[in-house]
Amino acid sequence: MIHDQANYEREGEDVREPLLSEKGQETVDVRGDSPLPDELTREELTLPNPSEPETARHYTRLSQMNWAIDSGPYPLGSCTMKYNPKFTEDVAADPNAAVHPDRSARSAQGILELQYRLQEVLSEIGGMDAVTLQPPAGAAGELTGILVAKAYHEHHGNDRSEVVIPASAHGTNFATAATAGYDVVELPSGEDGRVDLEALEAAVGDDTAALMLTNPNTVGLFERDITEIAEIVHDAGGLLYYDGANLNALLGRGRPGDMGFDVMHYNVHKTFATPHGGGGPGAGPVGVVDELAPFLPTPRVREAAEGAGYERFEPDHTIGKVHGFAGNWLVLIKAYAYIARLGNEGLSDAAAKAVLNANYLAERLDLDVPFGPFHHEFAATAGDRDAADVAKRMLDFGVHPPTTKWPEMVPEAMLTEPTEIEGRSSLDDLAEAFNLAYADSDEALDSAPTRTAAARIDQVGAARDPRLSWQALDEE
């Protein structure tokens, strides 16, 4: 069976849904009615002026040209697209959640208590001692964690210049280390797809500030030698950073803190089902062991002296701030509600079903999966087919394709993560879409997709001749 994806009529040569600007703009004279003197104001402003019904139709139409987790399978590996429980939206919509961040602690006790509770459950889930909720996304969490590590080393008089990162890691790890001012030492993957202990021994030393590790890694393999890895890094005086992107696979079966990690970030959308909103907002809380807690961003929240509720405080050697205020609070509330809904058994079961689903799906594929045993995700190889073309063809079969051509250690990789939310029949459909696309003719792959809102889009042209606004289109 094939899912039918929304198919849209083309209107002759016209674009499908005009830009707001094409539906009508208005130019208003700013100075005519301004309380400010002319020299401080602009002359005029030109923007679209749709009526509310037109606005509603425009955005509804746009929404119909957009795949979402509520549309169907969205198995992007390492992106972890899982269902976003609806009730969490209602929890976050409480007007009392939406107060100003500069309120006194005294008048914001409700928020502080909920922040504190979330800090506590995240600490427990990660096996960490202290948590900050401030980082507004996973990558911001990485930067926070690495800045905390840097401050820790500097506090102890150690000037370390390098961060070690496995070649298979997410691109953000490399960019984060560079943003924090570190040189990156790339660690080649071992033949089994994991960290090679000898290579690690050779890579670490007096200059090593940290090793950033994703576990299970980006082809779903658990780093079995994690205890030895931790020893090697710690013996060199470095810290061990846990990239929380794949924490969903470990819930209830392993905690980063128990494995020797010193600092970690949590991706709340990947693990705790907050909606991704087409690119954000996310949230990337950071957990640390006791020794690193004094360096966390300010403020943190703790219980006040007996009966006085909760208070903000500045950690003794804080790195300062990583977000202007308190991060993406309205997202964090949804994570709290999700964790509360699942509890111990639900969280453990989420990991179990995520791993079950990945293994079942892989079993049904005609494509090879070079590395295993994998957990929540696997990198199939499209072999002599182009993975990106196979992915485009999958769109025609009514599913969203996996992440393609990454990680690079698998040729023509199709990194697939169905998460726990797909049932058997949905996985069967997904497998069929994979297999049909993989076996299809070169011609079919080249011309795919044909049943989507747009046919194959010219990426090269988009980058060669950047047109990034309707003003740029008007100039043509």
Binding site: Q109, T179, R253, G254, G324, F325, L330, L342
Partner: protein
């Protein structure tokens, strides 16, 4: 059919689970985990599962412990009335539950919405390029500094910022600067805006970026932006201007005062106050296009020759360029950008300009009324104000703020004898109460 006690968001019946395990060839799910005993965890987080209803009650009960205050708070985070249409359209699951647009052929809707958002920012800033969001104004400022460091051929390593700057914003900037070996220094202000003469004296070859804000953190409209731009130009520093999406609709166009980069906050449209959650603006001149941080949506064509949208210039980004990327940002604030665009479309240029003009008029009117109270003088600075202004009080400001809070009003205490008050369409109807409370506590 039965399901074991597990996540309510997995569809597996026990029978299906058994069939899937059989297909894989293992006895149970645990056999699929490859975690050594030495680091295994027993699964007890001490978290009891609750029902949906129970969690909603729990969170409502906890959040109710906030005091019921009328907030006259701003300093970088603002609440305006958000029309219902924004929630109803942005909450459509096709938007809310989608991912980054890695397969543009099935993501045309969100891409077009972001393209439209970028275009609105291009109009508001007068610059050529706007990205489709940063986390907030503070991180956008940090990214501007690292961009300046990459594009400026000067040997300098100083970022100059106004002495009156939100502390948290400065702290974020410091963290971005530290990694690029930049140092942050301040230039003096005179009566709430930049002291341009002393700024010119301070400027020099060591400055890679000069940052100014309008409105300032105290709500003052900067009066000599073009002169500040000339100072930057004379020393070959990047001129970064911080502003706000509503203010941009009426204030001098950043491109006309020589701004190279505009950063700031756009969450004042589309978002209610939300404990600081924001929407960072990042716009710049064309010459810096390939150094822009974050995602950009571009127009292209599909195989049928129809216009289509796609994420573009991705070779700037971390997933391609790794440690040589322009930024480590991946997830941004896309859905908030969608909300801001819907709000802007709903207002139209007339509505947006009216909203901005009200921000000036209401601030002026409220300052005058507070100034009439004995023991208070407002506005402290003899400038035009946008939304907010400083108030000098004879009594200690923290005590006055605390007393006002007891009367049900939240204002900022920003100095020993300085308060700050912010007024928008949301609290403008409560100014009588605030003025009466001032009367009572002073």
């Amino acid at each position: 059919m039965s399901r074991a006690n597990g996540t309510p968001y997995a569809p597996h019946t026990d029978e299906e689970t058994a069939a899937m395990l059989a297909a894989i060839g293992v006895d149970d799910e645990e056999a699929l985990f490859d975690i050594p005993e030495a680091v295994a965890f027993d699964g007890d987080f001490g978290i009891e599962p609750r029902t949906e209803r129970g969690i909603r009650d729990e969170c409502t009960r906890i959040l109710n412990r906030n005091d019921d205050l009328t907030e006259f708070l701003g300093r970088g985070h603002y609440g305006h009335y958000v029309p219902s249409v924004v929630d109803h359209l942005a909450d459509r699951a096709e938007f809310l539950t989608s991912y980054t647009q890695y397969q543009p052929e099935v993501s045309q809707g969100f891409l077009q919405a972001l393209f439209e958002y970028q275009s609105m920012l291009v109009e508001l800033t007068g610059l050529d390029v706007a990205n489709c969001s940063m986390y907030d104004a503070a991180t956008a400022l940090g990214e501007a500094a690292t961009l300046a460091d990459r594009v400026r051929a000067t040997s300098g390593d100083t970022v100059l910022v106004p002495e009156q700057l939100r502390e948290g914003k400065r702290a974020v900037l410091e963290n971005y600067c530290a990694g690029a070996d930049l140092s942050v220094e301040t230039y003096p202000m005179a009566d709430g805006t930049a002291d341009v003469d002393r700024l010119a004296d301070r400027a020099g070859d060591d400055v890679v970026m000069l940052y100014a804000e309008s409105p300032t953190v105290r709500g003052c409209v900067e009066e000599r932006l073009a002169a500040i731009g000339e100072v930057a130009d004379d020393t070959d520093a990047l001129f970064a201007l911080g502003s706000d999406v509503v203010a941009l609709s009426v204030l001098e166009s950043p491109s006309e005062v020589g701004a190279d980069v505009v950063v700031g906050e756009a969450g004042a449209l589309g978002l209610p106050t939300s404990y600081g959650m924001g929407l960072g603006i990042f716009a710049c001149r064309d010459e810096f296009l390939r150094q822009v941080p974050g995602r950009l949506v571009g127009a292209s064509e599909d195989a049928n020759g129809d216009r289509a949208y796609t994420l573009t210039l991705q070779t700037r980004e971390q997933h391609i360029r790794k440690e040589r990327a322009t930024s480590n940002i991946c997830t941004n604030q896309a859905w908030v950008a969608l909300r801001a665009a819907i709000h802007a479309a709903t207002l139209g240029p007339d509505g947006l300009v009216d909203l901005a003009n009200d921000c000036v008029r209401e601030a002026e009117a409220l300052a005058a009324r507070i100034d009439d109270r004995s023991g208070a003088a407002a506005p402290v600075h003899d400038r035009h104000h946008f939304r907010e202004f400083a108030v000098r009080v004879d009594q200690p400001a923290p005590a006055v703020a605390e007393d006002l809070e007891a009367e049900g009003f939240a204002v900022h205490a920003i100095g020993d004898h300085l308060l700050q008050v912010c007024v928008t369409d949301l609290n403008a109807g409560r100014t009588d109460g605030l003025v009466a409370a001032f009367e009572g506590v002073l």
